[in-house]
Every structure is written in structure tokens, then in C-alpha cells.
Subunit: 464 residues, 3 copies
């Protein structure tokens, strides 16, 4: 099997060896968006093929939209409740008609692999076989073994971390624990909604945070207390990490006086865009301070301009394939944070970018110096065979693999987890084979690296 | 023949197969700068070898200039009429003496191929054989078959679009039509000169536009009418597209009141640089509105700082190899335009960049979402084997090939058209072979993609 | 031997041929940081293995620091004189324990090659064999042939340029000359310390410059005279080049009146950050003017934010692995300098960047136009097999190899010079083999290019 290997017999053979080492290891999923509800009930069933594979996955439907297919025809619910397509077989047929759009894309590779490896379908999806494929998937979905918990075990997932709002009561995580099932599903603390003052729903979010923490938030100090309270709860529920999203990597500490005034403006709905920017930059440092104290690993995902298409956002809401990356700057922006905590052995800060020009220019040199920094794997649009190859070739010479955090699949599509890890492991195996054959690492080193990239680095970076 | 294929037997063999599919298809030239005059007269003859291949082509003479050869010695005319070299054999000898500069460059590849495939010259050009090569070319140029029309047919060019100013009367296009010759030569509407207020010749251009349209331009409304009038004429003459150049991708609608005031300042020669920037950004949206209404495909070529060398510009004028790219931003800059027309099925907007860092970061995600967007092929300095490979590897995973516009040669050097397409088709064939051999697309998919990349995508994107 | 060659038999065989051509040529080292003291005494001895290979080399110790190893434990001296580890065997053992961090990095490749090729050690360094390796190196260091001068001859170094402050009396260079030894060690004029007003030590530096030049510096005119005086001295001592470092590539001429006022503010310690930026930008043009007059080749190394980690800087000083690149802009920034001197045949300006996004976008187009410009080799973090491959693939199509300056090792680690050149020569050989096998250059052209890239281009660009 030469999937994703360089078409060169000698290299492919060696790559197969490293892939075998990697594929024998359990899957570690330290960052993603799978709904914990899937695992809270032993008998949870997936829906029909369309609602399983198409309508919840913006990686999939964005390409049909890009060719003029209205999201309504794909069954994406509208915010105003206006009718959308509900017949899953019609949606499926439309998807099959446009399946050629996925040629050469990672989403196409994942879908093909899910169809063949999970659903046992041998033919590539097409307009012609669409209904037969639908039948085949539906049939398999109805088999008793096809529950999230059984698949979790079947895939040998060692741990799967979800992403959860600061005020989330974590009821599904609680239910999983109480059910006695041994699968390790951990929450991740993601407080963006209570940090981003630009978010029109900020005030209601603060009220939720007050309720969730039992701390009435009337000033900055009580806001911090409430966050710390929630972090304690997340830790108690097994969390080992937090996650923070922002458009830019700006960090900067606000003086106490300005900070309180700004926070009060926000409570009165008078915060400006500039206030929001400064507050986010301040809070990133505050969260680093908390991480130093409570040991939660900190993740930063920066550089996406969310909801670029306002009409689409108004009609369908967030996460509809219209988040577009922007140029990102780390060297200046992270300096204040790193001056304070970058050399603190208690902090681990994992960075993600959508701007590949920062790999060799900023991120690898930063990670090759600061003890607190680790680089996350290629993210989102770059979570692809070429994206991974560029990452490995641009980052590893300067940072070394031991300043990276291994792989994470970052997916809400549970069934795609195995193939996403397979892609990473295969691309790494091929890269390692290339290093060996060009005399850059020894064979035993490559074996250790194959294992570290597939498993060890993620376990260590996320303190799992 | 392994030209431009990865040196791997298995891949080269498969690439040859895809290249055969591509090379059987006609050439589609939807964007370029060939002079329509070449085709207006059935007996048009090319000049001597130096005036055919050297003096009009800044891709060629810039490399000699970069090593200290004065442009005067290459016969480039001076604006002040001061004497320059006129002996084509002396110019040719100098070119041959410096021919080693082109080693490994796309221009070198094109020239080598033109010499061998078009002029039947077997030896590489050198100081020693310069005059003999000159003789060989001259001889061939004098053969009866060597007219633009015969070559157009011989190259199997299905359609060739020129680039023409808004006020251009299109007399050569008219002559071609009237001649009864069946070659399809279409104009493209390029209104930069009447849009760019920074251009010292803006006022005379406006007067020309008034004359050409028969509409006296005294305010913004009549300016728009004149443009729409010319677009109608271009459409009537077969145009299917417009083209717009700018230093940045900035777009933004000016409120009506400011707009008129600004336009009046411009008419009085009082417009500032900032006025010019805002006006260009406004007009881009206005042109998108016109395209929505009249169906002309819109092209944007952004990111070149023109005439970087002021002394050279003063002495020799525009297009002398001194246009230098700048970093380019699309995500923020195009947001106003895309919010208005990005999802409109009537618009096709084809984007070109010189900043490759935008491929994976901005352009592919934008094209993978907005129905109106298509990505143009690698442009100018990136129209090269490596530039194409980087483009295919960076863009296609996220946008898919069906959100791109295939290839265009963008050349004023008519004889280089076949080899430019050959390079694209070979690099695509090699890329497809790599995808197949690494299990990323099936063989039949690659065959369809080879055909689409060579022919179908360009025909469709440009509505030809 | 397939070290650093593409794992493809045909390509590796051809690459070997080009590498043989390159490896037969002497080493040219036109830019670096080797201490001239090494060559001033025929009997100079290197210290112990730790002080030879670890403590002076920030490429090495930064990776241990990045994993939490305090620099004190590696024997890096503190500015406050507090105790640090002094036992070289303990330092060596720690280094060996963390040697896995260098897997796949260029530093690891250099170290492995130094151990095997220079010290004859066959086993890879590990915790287990650390002391035995130490013994082996120590033994070799004690052999009579192991002096810098003998190694210089053994390595076939044709010329080695050091980097020296404007006020440096060049006593070691003087001593080398007077010793009658024939090795060619030349100084390079690096005036950053007297140009950068942000440097807290600027005033003392100016006093040193006054003393060194014998010109009392009380205004801008005398400052310029002092610099010209020192350049004369450097030229007299064999220098052929200057070097200039800055965070940005900004250039811009200050009007005489502002200039003098700014200089007087600086002398009174009242210069602002903005003054410093403007003054550096002005001086770059002034230095270009001097180069036009005295013929010294000008180098610019831009884009590093120095001393990013303030606590580390305070404790250990400069050059401790905490210099981090920033995004760099050349097209606008260099325009004023190039408008003045870019086409002057007397100037050679060699540019270095840490921002690879500028390779194809700005640097190659600039170098492909301006006669004065040459591009330096991949610098610092990009001086690596992948960094070189990216450079060759991104730069050469547009600039051609004849607008580049060949290779320089830029190292303070004398023993790493041969392997650094070997890496460059091998990567170039592999690249050339790829060009030949894909029909992009002929075999005889590749032979000439192999030689030029290894030797001729550097000799010519640096006027050696």
C-alpha cells in the first residue's frame, strides 16, 4: 500500500516500516470538536447518512456552496426557521452529483476512506451509485456495533478531548463518568465567548458564567475569580488543557486602572472594537498566569477572520465554511507574554497558525528557544498531505520535532478521526524515510521519531 | 520525453499519459497581450529576430540589464529619441553572449523551445553560433507559412483574447472580423487608465473616453455611462471579460456625496494619492456591479508596484522589467466587494496574485467558499515550472481544481504561446501522476482533471 | 554516498557527478564570524570539547534551553559573574543526554559530520558513549596538526573574511600579516554599533570611533569622515566588503538640516526610537554612496528582532539563541536606495533575509532587474538542506543564478566550515541533477553552474 507515500520504491518500502510502527499505537485526540453527547449514552445512534456526513460538516458543504449550491438544498438549517431540504436521499444525491469537486482534496481523501474502510463500499461515490451507497451506509449504521462507544474502542482511541465553553456544565462528561464506561473523554476549557467583547452575546455569556461559577461578576476581579472557579471545575472533570481563539496573536498587559474602566464599559455595552482587542490581548496573558498556577496546558488558535460572508452568517450562523485566514504576526505580538512566562517551566503554550509564512520565519525560531512553547500540528486548511509536508519541511529543521505537540485531528466528524491520523502518520513516515535515505537521520532515530510523532509528543505536550 | 517530469520512471510514464490527453486539446488563451494587428492582415510579417524576440520582451532584456547591459545596446527605444543600437545582428550577438544568464529560468526554457520547435535549430544559442542562429531564424521567418494567422491555426489556438484600453476603437479586431478569417481573436476591456487618478495622463484619457463613447464626461454619472457604453461595444466585438490592475486589492464603496466631490477634484487635477486609492477601491465594486449586469467576467491582477526604477522609467517608459511585487492582502480588502456580490451567481471574478504566501492562506479558502470567485493560474514571475508546482500544491487541496480558471499565458510574445501551455500541461500531468501514485485520485479522475486543467476550466471560467 | 541527495538512483548518480566538480574547488568564506585570533598565533590551541563545540555556539545550546535546560548548566557565563558549570565533562554529558533534540536539524547534521569526519568518531553521540567521545575529541585536539592554521590549509580555504567593528584596530589581522603565514584572512567593516542610536552603548562607541580614526566626532560631517577613515584602513588591511544589520530594510535620505539636528540629539542622549530608525535608514544610503566611491561590496542582513527574551538578555547578553525573525519588506523600503544607486555599476549590494516569503515575491524580481543587486545565500535558520532547496526553487527561476552571491557559511564555529559548504554543494548538485533530468538545463550547463555556485559566484560578488 503506497497511499500518500512518495512514488519511489525504496522510499515507500522504508516509509511502510515507519508507518507500521506508528499505526500500532493508540490514537491520541487532544484537541477536537466531537460532541461528548455521543458517548454519554451507550446506545447512541448516528442519524442518516446526510445528517451524519454532510450537514454538520463545513469542510464538506463549503465546496458545494463555492459552486453555487444553496445551503438550503443541503439541509443546513436557517436561523429564521424558513424551510430547507429535509429529504436525506435528495441531499445525498446532490452531494454525489458534485462529488468530483473533492478530487485531490483532503476532504475527498477522508470521505473516500470513510466509505471504504468504515462502510465497506468499494466503488467511488457518483451520481449513478448515490442511492446504492446511501443504502449501504444506512445498513451499516443500523448494525448493533455501530455506536460511538464501540467505534471509539474499535479505533483504539486512548483519549479524546472535547472543546467546551467556560460556562458549560459538562453534563455529558458527567454522564460518561457516571456510566462506568472506561473511554477517556475529557473536556477542554474554551472561554472565548466570555473574553471577546466584540461578540454581541458577551453580556448574556457573562451572566451564564456568573451562574455556572456561583460568583456574581460585577468587576474584573470577580470575572477572574469566576474563570478560575470554572477552570477548577474543568480540571476536576479531567481537563488538562484550555483553548483560546483570536484573530491576531496580540498580547499586552493592561494597567489595573485602565483594565477596570474598560471592563465597566463592557458591562455597560460601551466597549469599542479597540477595547475588545486590548482586552483579548490582556486576557491571553492572564490565562497564561492561570496556567502557570493550575497546570492546564494552554492552546492558542489564531489568524482566522470569522464569518467573512455577512449574508451567510445572518442566514445560517457560525461555522459555515466562511472563516478566512489572515496574515499573522507572532514575534512582536507574543513578546509581552513570553517575556513574562516564556521561560517558566510550569507553562506549556501550544501555538496554531493558518499563515504558513510564519512556520520558518517566526514559529520555529520561537519554539526553538522558549521552554514554554510547543507548535501545534498543521491546522484546518493545512491539515492535509501537502500541508503536513510543508510543515515538516519548514518547521522541523529549526524547532526539532521535540518542540512540537504531535498531531491532533481538530474535527467534529467523529468517523473521520482514524483517517485523519492515518494521513499524519503516513506523511510523517514518508518524511522520515526521506530523511534516512538522504543520510539526515539514522534508521533507529527514525523509528523513535515515528513513534513520538504519532503518540508520544501529543501525550507529553498535553500532559495526558 | 521527460521534459519537466519528476525523474522517476513510473511517475514520468504516467505523466506522459496525462500529457498526451492534454496536448491533444486546442490552446485556450483567455488573457494576454498579443497585438491584434498581427491578425488583421493575412500577409503580416514578423520583423527581424532581434525585434521579434528581444526588444519587445521585458522578460528577456531585464536579465541582461541586471548584469549591467544598458538597454540602449539592446535597441530599446528611448523616450527622448536619443540614438540606440539599430543593428539587429549586434543586438543578437550581445544577447547570445549573455545567454547563460537564462540557465534554469522559464524564459530560457521558452527560448530554447522556440529555437528548436519553431525554428528547427538544434544547437543551444552561444556566442559562437549567434550569427548562424540568426540566419536560421531569419530564413524561417521569410518562409510563406510564417504569418501570424497560419501559426495561429498551426498551434490549434481555439481563442485568443487581447487586452485593450477602454477607449480603444478596436480597429484591428474590426478588420479581423471583416476579413472573413475564422480565427477567434477577442478583445478584453481594461479600463485602468481611466480609473487610476494617480496616472498623470488621466485627464487626456477621460477625454478619449468621452470621444470614444460619445458621452461628455463631466461628472461621475456620465463617467459610469461612458464606461457602460464602452463595455457594450466590447461585448458587441466579442469580449467576454474585463481586466483590472491595481497595486492593492483594496475595495470599498464611497458614499455618493464624497464620490462626486472626489471626481470633481480629479477633473480639476486636485486629486490626492489617497483619493486615487479610494477611487480605485470604489470602482472595483462598481465594475463588479456592471459585470453582474452585463455578464462580462471580471479579472483582477494585483500586487505589482509598477516602474520601481524611476530613472529607467523616465528614459524608457513602462514595461521595462522594473515592476516589482509587493505583499498583498485579500481577506480584508475584498470583504466589501464579496459581501455585495461574492455569492451572486451572475458574477465570475478571477483573482491573480504575485504574493505566493496568499495561496494557501487567503486565496484558496476564499475561492473554496465564494461562488463568484475563481483563482487565476500562477502569474508572471510564477508562470514557471516551480511556480506552477507550488501553486498546484498550495491551492488545490483547499480550493479544488474546479474553483480555478485553468491556464492563461499572459504573454505579448506570440511565438511563446505553445511552449507556455506545454509547460503548464506538463507540470499538471506530472502533478496528477503524483496524486495517482500516492493514492489521492483515481486514474480516471486524473484523466478528467488533465483535460479540465488544459482546456475545460479556462473555457468555462471565461464563458468562451 | 547519497548524503542529502534525492533518493532516486538516476538523480543521485548525476548529483554525485556535480558534487565531485564542486568538492574539488577551494572553500570561499566571504562572510562569517570566526575569531581572527585563531590564526594570529601559529601554535594556537582549541580549548576542551565543551568550550570548543557547545558554550560559544548558540545554534547548539538554544535547543537544550528550549527544553528547559538552564544555560548555567551549559557553562554559559553570566553577566553578573554568578557561578555557572565549569566542569566540561558534566556539560558534555548533559549535551549528550539531550542530543536527540538535534534529530533532523542542520546543527545535528553538522555535529555528526564534525564528529565523524574531523574527529574520526564512528558512533553517534549518546548518554552512554558521552565520556568516550569526549576522550576521543580531546585526544585529537591535542595532536600537533590540530591548529587553526593547519586546518585552514587542510580544508583548502582560499579566503576567510571575518566581521569586525568599525573601531576595531584589527590587531590580529595585523599579526597574521606580519607572521608571514600565507593564509588569506580578511576583515569586514561592520559599523552597526556606531549607527544604531537605540544601542545604549552608542556614545562610548562613538568615542572609540573618534580614537580609532583620530577624528574628533562632534557633528555629522566628522562622523562621516571618521567612518571613511576607518573604511580606508579596512581596505588597506585587505577588506573587500562591509556588512550592515538592521531590523528592517528601511532606507531614506534625511535632509541635511534634520540630519544634523538628529545627530546632535543623539550626542546629547536625546534620540528617540524614531530618530534611530530614520538614522539607520539614512546611513544605509550613505554607506552605499561610500561603497560606490571606495569599491567595498555592501552586505545587508535584515529582519532579525534581536534579544527577544529580555530576562535572558539581561543575564547572559547578546547572541544567546533568542534572536527571532520578523516579516520583512524590501520593495518599498529599498526603493530610495535603489533609485539612487541601484543601477550604478560601481555598487554591489548583497541582500540577506530571514523571511522566505520575500524570495519569489520581492528579492528575486529586484535582483533580476537592478545591476547593483545580488542575493546572498539562505541565511541562519534557512542555512539548511530544506532551506537551501526552497531558496534554489524560489529564487533561481526569476533571478537566475548569476544574480546571486554563491554561498557563505556565516559561522563562528570554525570546525563547521567544511560541512556547511558540503551541505550547500550537495544540495546544489542535487538541484542541478533535477534540472538536467527534467530537461531544464543541459549537462554541460549544470557542470558550469555547479562550479559557479560552489566557487565562482562568491569570488566575483565579493570581489575577491
Amino acid at each position: 500500500m503506497v497511499r500518500l507515500f512518495t512514488p519511489n520504491l525504496q522510499q515507500a518500502e522504508l516509509a511502510s516500516h515507519y508507518y507500521e510502527i506508528a499505526s500500532a499505537l493508540p490514537l491520541v485526540c487532544p484537541h477536537g470538536h466531537v460532541d461528548p453527547r455521543l458517548f454519554s449514552d451507550a446506545n447512541y445512534r448516528f442519524g442518516n447518512p446526510a445528517e451524519l456526513l454532510i450537514s454538520p460538516d463545513h469542510y464538506v458543504f463549503r465546496l458545494l456552496f463555492s459552486q453555487g449550491v444553496p445551503l438550503e438544498r443541503l439541509g443546513i438549517p436557517r436561523q429564521d426557521g424558513a424551510p430547507v431540504e429535509t429529504d436525506p436521499r435528495k441531499i445525498w444525491q446532490l452531494f454525489a452529483d458534485y462529488y468530483y469537486l473533492f478530487r485531490g482534496t483532503p476532504t475527498g481523501f477522508w470521505l473516500n476512506t470513510i466509505f471504504s474502510d468504515i462502510f465497506g463500499i468499494r466503488e467511488r461515490l457518483s451520481s449513478k451509485n448515490a442511492q446504492a451507497v446511501y443504502d449501504g451506509i444506512e445498513q451499516r449504521l443500523n448494525t448493533p456495533a455501530f455506536t460511538p462507544r464501540r467505534l471509539f474502542e474499535h479505533y483504539k482511541i486512548e483519549v479524546l478531548c472535547t472543546t467546551d465553553a467556560a460556562s458549560d456544565p459538562l453534563v455529558y462528561h458527567q454522564a460518561i463518568r457516571e456510566s462506568g464506561w472506561q473511554g477517556r473523554i475529557l473536556p477542554t476549557f474554551r472561554p472565548d465567548a466570555v473574553v471577546n467583547l466584540d461578540n454581541p452575546g458577551w453580556k448574556p455569556q457573562i451572566e451564564q458564567l456568573s451562574r455556572a461559577s456561583g460568583i456574581s461578576i460585577g468587576n474584573y476581579a470577580s470575572f477572574i475569580q469566576a474563570l478560575e472557579n470554572r477552570r477548577d471545575y474543568f480540571k476536576h472533570m479531567g481537563a488538562t488543557a484550555t483553548d483560546h481563539g483570536a484573530t491576531s496573536a496580540y498580547t499586552g498587559q493592561l494597567p489595573g486602572s485602565e483594565l477596570e474602566a474598560l471592563f465597566q464599559r463592557a458591562l455597560k455595552d460601551h466597549a469599542s472594537s479597540e477595547d475588545a482587542r486590548l482586552f483579548t490581548g490582556h486576557m491571553i496573558i492572564e490565562f497564561a498566569r492561570m496556567s502557570v498556577e493550575d497546570g492546564l496546558v494552554m492552546q492558542m488558535h489564531v489568524g482566522s477572520m470569522r464569518n467573512h460572508n455577512p449574508a451567510l452568517f445572518q442566514t445560517f450562523g457560525v461555522d459555515k465554511g466562511a472563516d478566512i485566514p489572515v496574515a499573522t504576526e507572532f514575534t512582536h505580538n507574543l513578546a509581552p507574554l513570553l517575556a513574562k512566562f516564556g521561560s517558566d517551566p510550569r507553562l506549556t503554550l501550544i501555538l496554531f497558525t493558518l499563515d504558513e509564512s510564519t512556520y520558518s520565519r517566526e514559529l520555529a525560531p520561537l519554539a526553538g528557544h522558549y521552554p514554554a512553547l510547543r507548535l501545534g500540528p498543521p491546522w484546518w486548511f493545512n491539515d492535509s498531505p501537502n500541508g503536513m509536508a510543508r510543515y515538516l519541511n519548514s518547521v522541523m529543521e529549526t524547532a526539532g520535532i521535540y518542540n512540537t505537540a504531535g498531531f491532533n485531528d481538530d474535527t467534529r466528524a467523529f468517523l473521520s478521526i482514524p483517517v485523519r491520523h492515518e494521513v499524519w502518520r503516513r506523511v510523517c513516515a514518508d518524511w522520515l524515510a526521506g530523511l534516512v535515505l538522504s543520510g539526515r537521520v539514522d534508521r533507529d532515530e527514525a523509528e523513535a521519531m515515528a513513534s513520538d510523532l504519532a503518540y508520544g509528543l501529543a501525550m507529553k505536550a498535553y500532559r495526558l
